[in-house]
Structure formats: C-alpha cells, structure tokens
C-alpha cells in the first residue's frame, strides 16, 4: 500500500473510531435510561406488591388458605432490565471494537509517515483518547467500576476526538529535526499514557463531585434538578473517589518519568535538562498539583471533595500544558 493510501486509511479508521465511540456512548446512555425507568418501575412495583400482598392476606384470612398471591409485576420489570443489560453489553462491545479500529488508525498513520505516530498535536490527542478509553475498558473488565460510567466517559472522549480530528488535524508528514530521536518513543509515549489516565481521572473526579452533590441534596430531602439529577445513575461516591485515585496513582509515577525522560532528551537536544520553557513550566505545575492531590487525600480536612477539586484543577493544568501552551505560547515545544 502506498503512503497516501495508508494515510487515507488512517483517516477513515479515525472517523470510524469516532462513530463507534459515539454509538457506544448512546448504548451506555440507553442502559442508563432503562435503569432509571426500571428503578422507577421497581419503586412502583414494590408499592403494588405490598398492596397486593396485603390484599391477598386479607382475602386469605377471609376466604381460607387456598388463595394464591396475585402474580407480581415481575414480567413488566424483567423486560426493560434485559433490554438495558443488552444495551450496556453492546456499548462495551462497540467500545472494544472502537479501540481496535483506533489502534488501526494509529498504526496506519505510523506506516504512512514512516515514523512513530505521535509527532503532532492531532496524533498526540488521538493517542491520549485511545489510552483513556482503554484504561476505562480495563477498569470495567477488572470489575473496579461499573460500565454505567460508560456514557459519561465516552461523551468527553467523542468530543475530544472530534476536536482533534477537525481543529488539530495535520496531514501525515515527517518530523522536525528536534523530534528525530528515539526519546520521542519514550518521553512522548509516557506523557501520552499519563495524560490519558489523568484526563480520565479528571472526568471521574467531576462525576464524583456531581454524585456527592446529588447525595447531599437527596439527604437534605430535595429533588436534584439537572445536571445534578444525573448523579442518581452514577456509581457510589466512594467508588468514584477510589477509581479516580487509583488512576492517578498509576499515572503520577508515569508522568514523573515522562518529565525526567523529557529532561534527559532536553539535555541532549538543547543543552540543558531544565530551562523553564513554557511546556516544562506547565508540566511542572501539573506535577505539583497532582502531588498536592496525593497529599491532600491523606490529610484530614482535605479528603473527599477538596481533593477531588484539586484533581480537576490538575487535569485543567494538563490541558493548558498541552493545548494552551502549544497554540498560544511560543516556546521550544511549539511543533504544531
């Protein structure tokens, strides 16, 4: 296959990935909706069966022991449940296929340009989304988190990829000389791995905050309005907090390594291992904020929502580190 054909294949697979992820998101959302309605149905049915049981008891007392209970509302309940679990499974399947197609898009890119396929912002963003979605799949597969989180994770992934594919799109091509080093494999991949995990943790931290607010409003006897009402279909706050932490605990050493590998590369390329280049500065800020998160989580008075907000702030710093610095600030890392 020619390079041009490979590049075109990569672009088509990218588009297919976005579509698959979007469909997966819809499937997850359908499951959520079904679960919500079945919860409502559950509540109604529970009320009904209590009443019918009471009626039966009355009748039994009145007319002898032969009276059987009226059939409870089981058939009506079972239908949406089964459909919803099917929708969730389809969502997982679509996500899995999406990840495979996504990998195909990245590989085709690499073959077309004959280099490591993370040399510009478009490719970097594509990889970050791939990592985030893959980590989500691993979390679901290992039973650490319910797939009900799917819709909330896939929505930002689809938006992120959509932006990457339109605003940041760069045709397959060679690298600038400064990037021509084996360190691009090591430093940039570590940065991608950590970024994907960090962004995922940021989404989960936001969902945690939503869930906490929802729980607080319900506990106060209120009926939460949109978007806080979405909290009802999220996993328990404890679970979200733990998942967010686990993902950051994984990503933080990787990010530290990425910065150190970058320093080693900078020493070879620019003659100093650290120079407070804007990208270095924001990587440092991101690192400090995540260090703050890890410490906050172990400090009384900072656990829970405060720590989660730090996690969100750190994810924002990461986004600034990559997008704002690359697009608006001139520095040594400005490769477009």
């Amino acid at each position: 296959m020619t390079d041009a054909a490979l590049a075109q294949l990569s672009d088509r697979l990218f588009l297919a990935t976005v579509l698959l992820y979007a469909l997966a998101m819809l499937a997850f959302a359908a499951e959520q909706a079904a679960r919500r309605s079945s919860r409502v149905a559950d509540a109604t049915a529970a009320g009904l069966s209590v009443r019918s049981a009471a009626a039966a008891r009355t009748r039994a007392m009145a007319g002898g022991a032969t009276t059987t209970l009226e059939a409870p509302a089981q058939p009506q309940l079972a239908e949406p449940r089964r459909r919803s679990s099917r929708a969730g499974a389809v969502g997982l399947l679509l996500t899995g296929v999406g990840v495979v197609v996504h990998v195909g898009s990245v590989v085709a890119r690499g073959l077309a340009a004959d280099r490591t396929p993370w040399g510009n912002m478009y490719e970097f963003s594509s990889m970050v989304a791939l990592i985030a979605v893959s980590i989500f799949l691993v979390l679901v597969a290992t039973g650490r988190v319910d797939r009900g989180l799917g819709a909330f994770v896939m929505l930002p992934a689809v938006l992120y990829l959509g932006l990457a594919g339109t605003v940041l799109y760069t045709a397959a091509g060679p690298l600038v000389p400064a990037l021509d080093s084996y360190w691009i494999k090591i430093h940039v991949f570590a940065a991608i791995l950590a970024s994907g995990a960090f962004l995922l943790s940021g989404v989960v931290a936001l969902l945690y905050l939503l869930r906490v607010r929802h729980d607080a409003q319900v506990a106060a006897g209120g009926a939460p309005g949109f978007p806080v009402s979405l909290g009802a279909s999220l996993p328990a706050a404890r679970v979200l907090d733990r998942v967010s932490y686990a993902v950051i605990a994984f990503a933080f050493p990787v990010w530290t390594f990425a910065i150190i590998a970058g320093a080693i590369w900078a020493e070879a390329a620019w003659g100093r291992y650290w120079g407070w280049d804007p990208k270095e500065t924001w990587s440092f800020i991101t690192w400090v904020l995540y260090a703050g998160y890890l410490h906050a989580r172990a400090t009384a008075g900072w656990k829970g929502t405060k720590a989660a907000w730090i996690g969100v702030a750190a994810a924002v710093a990461l986004v600034i580190d990559y997008y704002v610095v690359n697009i608006f600030v001139v520095g040594l890392h400005s490769y477009g």
């Binding site: 091509g173 060679p174 600038v176 000389p177 400064a178 021509d180 080093s181 360190w183 404890r238 733990r242 932490y245 605990a249 994984f250 933080f252 050493p253 530290t256 390594f257 150190i260 320093a263 080693i264 590369w265 020493e267 070879a268 390329a269 620019w270 003659g271 100093r272 291992y273 650290w274 120079g275 407070w276 280049d277 804007p278 500065t281 924001w282 440092f284 800020i285 400090v288 904020l289 260090a291 703050g292 890890l294 410490h295 906050a296 989580r297 172990a298 400090t299 008075g301 900072w302 656990k303 710093a317 610095v325 600030v329 520095g331």
Partner: protein, 546 residues
C-alpha cells in the same frame, strides 16, 4: 511536611479499632505540651504540617504561572525588551516584581525553600521513625481478632506447635516478617508484617527531591553556558574570550573550562517540499586540546559533541555570503558576511562594512535570499524556500565615514551612524546580485557576490550537577512506584484455647489481617493466605466453628 503515607487511600481510616497494634501510620506523635520553647515549636510544627506543605505546593504551582505567559530573560531577553517597549508603564512595575525573571526571583525562591525546609523537617523525623520501625518486630496479637476487617477461623487435627511452625515457614517464604508470640491467655500466636518498602519508597522519593535540589544548585553555581557563531571554514577554541555570549554560574571559574577546539567544515540543512526543516548537520573536526582539530564529528540536533565534560550543541544556522569588494585603487577586500535570518524562508538581513577601503569607506545594506523570487512589477525580492536554490544578494551601497572611530562600540549587523553616509547611485533602487555577479559601483570600485556559505551557532555547556540530578530523578521514580504500589499489611495468627485443643481434641486457629491501603486488594490476598495456611482447604460444615 507530612508525607503521603499508608493512609493514602484513606477509605478505611476511622472505622478501624484504635488498638496500638493496628496503627499503621508512622506519622510522628504530637509533642509534649507546656514546654518553654512552645511558641517556636508550634511555629515549626505548623511549618512542617501537611496543611502548610499543601499550601506551599499550591503556591509553588501558582508562582510558576506568570513565568509561562510573560517573556522571561533567561529564555528570550529580546522578547522581554520588545514587551517592555510595547508596555512602557506596566513593564517597569512588573520588572520590579521580578516578573521577567520569575524562576530566579526572591519570592519564587522563598516558596520553594520554605517547602524544602518543611520537607526536610518532616523527613528527618520520618527517617528516624522508619529506621526504628524496621528494627521493631511486628506488634502483639490483638486480644480480639474478630474485630479486624479480615478474619477467619477454623480447626485442625494438627497440634498447635506444628500449625505455628507451618504458618511461620509459609509466611517467611512469601517474605513476611514473622514473630512467634506467647499470648497472655496461655495460647500462642504469630505476628507478621509486610510492605515496609512502601514507607522506604516514600522516603526515597522525598530524599531524592532534596538531592534534585542539590543537583540543580550545583549546576547553577558551578555550571557554564556559552554560545558562539562559527562560519564555515572557521574554528573555535574553548576560552572565555572566544564566546559571543556567556552565562557562567555564580561560582564558576574560567580555569574550569574544558580545553578543546573545533573547526566547522560544512553546514548542511535539508528541507521538505514545504520548506519544513528535515535535518541539520554540522561537519566538524575537533581536538581535546587547543591543537589543530583533526577528529571528524558530525554534529546533529540531539547528538551533541562531548569532550571531557563539556557538551557542544548545534543551536541555529544562517547564511554568510562571501563577497569581494574592490576599492577605487583596485584593492581586493574579501569578506564573509554573517546575515541574520528573518523567518522560515531565511530571507536574511546583511550589512557589509568596508572600513579599510582606500579613499572613502564603503558600506552596503540589504537582504540575502536563498531561493530568490523577484516581483516583476515592484522589483521586491523575497525568498520562497530556506535552501540556497537560487541565492541572491540585494543591496544598497554607501560611501562615507562609518563612524567606527568614535569609540562607541557598534553592532556588526547594523549601520548605526548614517550621518556621514552618501548613497551610491540613486540610493533607492537596490541592486540584485546572483552568485558570481559584480556590481561596478558608480564612482569607482565594485562589489562581487562570490558564493554562498553558511554559519552555525553552537552552545557549549558544562553542568557538574547533571549526574546528581539524574540519580535524584531515578530515585524519585523508583520511590514513587514503591510508595504507591506496595501495600503495608499485618497478619496475626492465634491458636486457641490454652493447650490448643477443643473438646473433641482439635486445634482452633484464628487468623486476622489488616491493610490500610486498598482493602479490596487485601481481601483477595487474605483469602489466598488463609487457603495456604489451612492444611486441608475443604471443610465440612460440621467441622466449621463459625
């Protein structure tokens, strides 16, 4: 600063029994009250408290922000100058606040030094406590094991001593630290602990941070950085005077400059069809003394030349057209003119000064264009590609005193004193010369554009703290992984009752475990441990005491 510790996940905290044995944290105990030095101690304690450390961390992040949005002197002094010109009222104020030197500013230093003092203060006590913990055997068996989160109980036909010996061997094999205990109620038991590496890693990470600061400081004090522009065919010997620009560390001594020299034979840049740079290559010959450089070296981006602790990097490049000027008496004056690139297509500004011309001094000013395109209507020349595909030198000429004798130093890149310069010709129409072409100057003399050569800029650095920083960085990553992924956990085993026998003559064994971090993961491990410790895994319900 209180370091991230065993309680990092924090979920299980608070629900655990307050038994001394089950306390996993090694955080320092509160100091005694009512001491004479109480206020000092209180100030010190609040400095080393986690709250202060957290605030300092956030302050450090916040303090870095202006350094990325305002131009910084250490990165780009020219841009600072330009910014100051654009904002004449704001700039002096910002400058007084060191906002153009954020990372060298006193307030930035104050934040990180306080943070490090807080860190060291906490580290010293944590190191002592951990050293003690490493020497202390695992704590006594708690009286009521059933209160612990993971708990299991079964009976065995083996006698108590055999059960204990088996359990001890099995735990030792999987690297638990095990102590046999005689219990107050006359029974016997085991205390076991594992995961000391968590705190070891935690301490390694924070000690490495301090080491990193030492490495950075060493570079800042004893390091050296200098840049030099070398034309093709020229050379460089490593002495302070040979540099165009130097930034030595505060304690740097010129004697520490590594002796070496190099000559630039050729510079090559290759570009793709859009003019995007593909490769840069400087062909050098070097020598590790001031002797004639002979060893060839291809210096490329990412591949610096290293000679005895000094590293030479390729920093930038540009064009240097070679010209010959003849004066009114016919003297040939040859020059290689360094032109400064103005953009991606390498349209470069050039100034040629010929102070030694007989009669009046000559000077020229114009542009060098590597791939020249001339607008047929306006006559304007531009460059469309960075490589020298169609090089041209387009200049205006002047006669007259350049003002070089005034004693005021002049830039070689600019005609600074134009007061006595008279234009040659009409002074408005530049003359374009391609390689080999000559401009016969009205009034005598000529300018010939002989050929295109290139120049390159090199940076030479010496950083004695580099290795220290690398070791520190490695320590940080290793320490982090240990402190985040190793779990500290304890296990207790008790054989009851006294004598170790139930009424039907079986030994009753009770096991309990505790992990502060990731209790879910420990549950699985605990189940496996119990599985291993039981002599026969399958039990009939009747035999089960629970």
């Amino acid at each position: 600063m209180t370091l991230t510790t065993d309680t990092a996940t924090g979920d299980a905290a608070g629900e655990l029994p307050g038994d001394e044995a089950t306390r996993l944290s090694t955080a320092p105990p509160p100091p005694p009250r009512g001491s004479v030095v109480a206020p000092v101690r209180r100030a010190w304690r609040s400095l080393v408290s986690m709250r202060t450390a957290l605030l300092l961390l956030f302050l450090l992040a916040l303090a870095s922000v202006p350094g990325s949005f305002l131009p910084q002197r250490n990165l780009n002094p020219v841009e600072v100058q330009a910014w100051s010109t654009d904002h004449p009222t704001l700039a002096p104020l910002l400058d007084r606040l060191s906002l153009f030197d954020v990372f060298a500013s006193p307030w930035f230093a104050a934040v990180y030094l306080l943070l490090f003092v807080s860190l060291i203060g906490c580290l010293s006590s944590r190191l002592r406590l951990h050293a003690r913990a490493l020497r202390t055997p695992p704590p006594d068996v708690p009286r009521v094991l059933a209160r612990l989160p993971s708990h299991e109980r079964w009976t065995s036909s083996q006698d108590a001593n055999a059960v204990l010996a088996d359990a001890r061997r099995s735990l030792r094999r999987s690297r638990w630290r095990v102590v046999t205990r005689e219990l107050p109620d006359g029974g016997s038991g085991l205390s076991a602990e594992k995961g000391y590496l968590r705190e070891t890693g935690n301490l390694l990470f924070h000690v490495s941070l301090v080491l990193l600061l030492v490495g950075v400081a060493m570079g800042g004090l004893f390091g050296f950085k200098g840049t030099v522009l070398v034309k093709e065919g020229d050379g460089f010997a490593n002495t302070i005077l040979a540099y165009d620009d130097i930034s030595p560390g505060r304690q740097f001594d010129a004697d520490r400059l590594v002796p070496f020299s190099f000559a630039l034979d050729e510079f090559q840049g290759t570009y793709d069809d859009d003019g995007k740079a593909l490769t840069f290559l400087a062909r050098l010959r070097f020598s590790d003394s001031s002797a004639e450089p002979t060893t060839p070296y291809d210096l490329r981006v990412n591949h610096p030349l290293e000679v005895g602790g000094a590293k030479t990097y390729l920093l930038g490049h540009g064009y240097a057209p070679k010209v010959v000027v003849t004066d009114v008496e016919g003297n040939r004056l040859e020059q290689t003119v360094v032109c400064l690139p103005q953009g991606a297509t390498f349209l470069s500004t050039c100034v040629i000064k010929v102070p030694d011309a007989a009669g009046e001094q000559l000077s020229f000013e114009g542009v060098f264009t590597p791939t020249t395109v001339q607008d047929p209507e306006t006559g304007r020349v531009t460059s469309v590609y960075p490589a020298p595909e169609n090089p041209a030198l387009t200049v205006l000429g002047y006669r007259g005193d350049l003002g070089l004798d005034s004693g005021v130093p002049q830039s070689v890149y600019q005609l600074e004193d134009r007061s006595r310069l008279e234009p040659i010709g009409d002074g408005a129409t530049p003359v374009m010369l391609t390689e080999g072409q000559t401009w016969e100057l009205p009034g005598g003399g000529s300018l010939t554009f002989v050929e295109t050569t290139e120049w390159a800029t090199f940076q030479v650095t010496q950083d004695p703290g580099k290795l220290v920083a690398l070791v520190a960085g490695t320590g940080m990553v290793v320490g982090l992984c240990l402190s985040l992924f190793v779990r500290r956990r304890r296990l207790w085993l008790r054989v009851v009752p006294a004598g170790g026998r139930t009424a039907d003559g079986r030994t009753v064994i009770e096991v309990a475990g505790l992990a502060r971090t990731a209790p879910e993961a420990f549950e699985a491990e605990f189940a496996q441990l119990v599985e291993r410790l039981r002599p026969t895994p399958a039990r009939t319900p009747q035999e089960d005491l629970a």
